[in-house]
Amino acid sequence: MSTIAISEHRSNAPADPELMAAPPMIEVRDLITHYGTREILHGINLSVRQGEIMVIMGGSGSGKSTLLNALLGLLRPTSGTIRLLGQDLNAISDVERTKLRQKMGVAFQGGALFSSLNVLENIMLPLREHTKLDRNTMRIMARMKMQVVSLSGFENLMPAELSGGMIKRAALARAIVMDPRILFCDEPSAGLDPVVSSAIDELILNLRDAMGMSIVVVTHELESAFKIADRICVLDKGHILTVGTVEEVRNSANERIQNLLNRRTEAEVLDPDEYLRRLTGMQQ
């Protein structure tokens, strides 16, 4: 009798001990970044294991986009190191970085699809630029990924003709077309209706289970974060408040985390002198 392997839904389960021992896919040490003279991230330490979904969560201005840009190599940190797949992102040569980037996929918030190319050409682009496959093979591979994100049949549409959910799906398909080891998703469910957003969450979970990639998701949507995360990293004002499983974050005693979870605005504590200075516009 043949045995049928049923892929187990592993979300929110503690990670495999074997995987725990493996070297981290992403390792961030003492990361400090500036925009101009303003310090945005004040010494971030974070690691993501293989096959893990790490959700980076925080309110607006918490530094989560900055952290993502640094991880993607779009923003050079002032100090600290970022190691992806064991390689220091900011110390390797351009050639090595190009190779490294073929092992990572990124789904941007707005999709960032190229408006002059149709959906299929968009998804094929990384294959066209980095492989020597013939055109038919590339087309088949791109169609396979479109199947994965349930976008079959929309090959010839231009990005301007797609709905919000379809853009995110197409962006995801393009991000995974090279079968990356690490996938980054920037606000995958922001601005979508609950049904579509939940479908995208499912998709992310399936991708991890089917391909075993490490996934970093940046979001401010609590529901989606709790649904997909293995671990959550809560950022606030450029500091990490906590990194832990969904349960740990939910039960955290930290007041700021609870404020974020319960959507409470924080009453700003301001001393009278500071208030006066702000009103008069005088510099400290």
Binding site: L72, G73, L74, V95, R97, T98, K99, L100, R101, Q102, M104, V106, F108, Q109, G110, G111, A112, L113, F114, S115, L125, P126, E129, H130
Partner: protein
């Protein structure tokens, strides 16, 4: 009072520094384009010729109707003005000399350059600006596709081919336009007109015009790309930088034209 003067000085200094930075950016872009054209193949990241040809179509072929129309009009205008001003000396016949020289050396490249700056320079700035805002440039970088190789180099190649080609075409159309008016007004035969032209226009004059237009093509591309990369702040930012790109391209073309003419007439 003194403080205000100080402020003004500081603002001027900052603007100058920013301007110099843009010059530097232009030089770096040009160097990177050359680098990718030369080395791209060896690094398995070639500059795509099909992309360059697609740009050629957009920059050159689609511009032919407007360039032709403008060139024809300007050719006729030159003949009208030439005949009118030479009539004072009773030397209307000499209009061919004036038209021939000025079209091939000056009006052909200049008018074509200005048209292309308005048409292509602006669209280049808008395209790159929009791509920046919608994170398409970031997407290229993280896919390991160098944006300079993928976008700028094909555009530069297309401009270096098409601006001289268009200039050549527009010079011919201008000469035809003035030839038509001269034949009507002065009754000069086409054969005589063309013979006169071939006596006047030397190969060096044609090269002078085409060399200049090549330079204009490079300038328009670099100005467009730099302004595109400097876009910030959404649709309004794109509009602002697009306008700026056209204004700066045209200024750059005219100044370069003068400098080029000065240097080329010395030797």
């Amino acid at each position: 009072m003194l403080a205000r003067v100080g402020d003004q000085m500081e603002r001027m200094g900052r603007a100058t520094a920013a301007g110099m930075a843009e010059f530097g950016l232009g030089a770096v872009l040009l160097a990177q384009c050359i680098y990718w054209v030369v080395v791209g193949h060896r690094r398995a990241q070639p500059v795509r010729l099909d992309a360059a040809f697609a740009r050629c179509m957009e920059v050159g072929i689609l511009a032919i109707p407007i360039v032709t129309l403008m060139a024809l009009t300007i050719g006729i205008m030159l003949a009208i003005q030439g005949i009118y001003s030479l009539r004072v000396f009773g030397a209307e016949e000499q209009v061919v000399l004036g038209v021939g020289m000025s079209v091939v050396r000056e009006f052909g490249p200049l008018i074509t350059g200005i048209l292309v700056a308005g048409r292509t320079g602006s669209s280049l700035a808008a395209r790159i600006g929009t791509m920046r805002i919608s994170q398409e440039i970031d997407a290229l970088s993280v896919m390991g596709i160098n944006p300079v190789r993928f976008i700028v180099a094909p555009a530069l190649i297309a401009m270096m081919i098409m601006v001289p080609t268009l200039t050549f075409w527009s010079s011919i159309v201008m000469l035809a336009g003035s030839g038509w008016y001269i034949s009507v007004d002065l009754g000069m035969s086409w054969a005589a007109y063309i013979e006169r032209l071939t006596e006047i226009i030397k190969f060096g004059d044609v090269l002078h015009g085409l060399g200049k237009s090549l330079l204009f093509g490079v300038l328009i591309t670099l100005v467009g790309v730099i302004n595109g990369t400097l876009v910030s702040g959404g649709a309004e930012g794109v509009g602002k930088m697009t306008t700026r790109s056209v204004v700066i391209s045209i200024c750059a073309i005219i100044v370069t034209d003068m400098v080029f003419a000065f240097i080329a007439t010395r030797s």
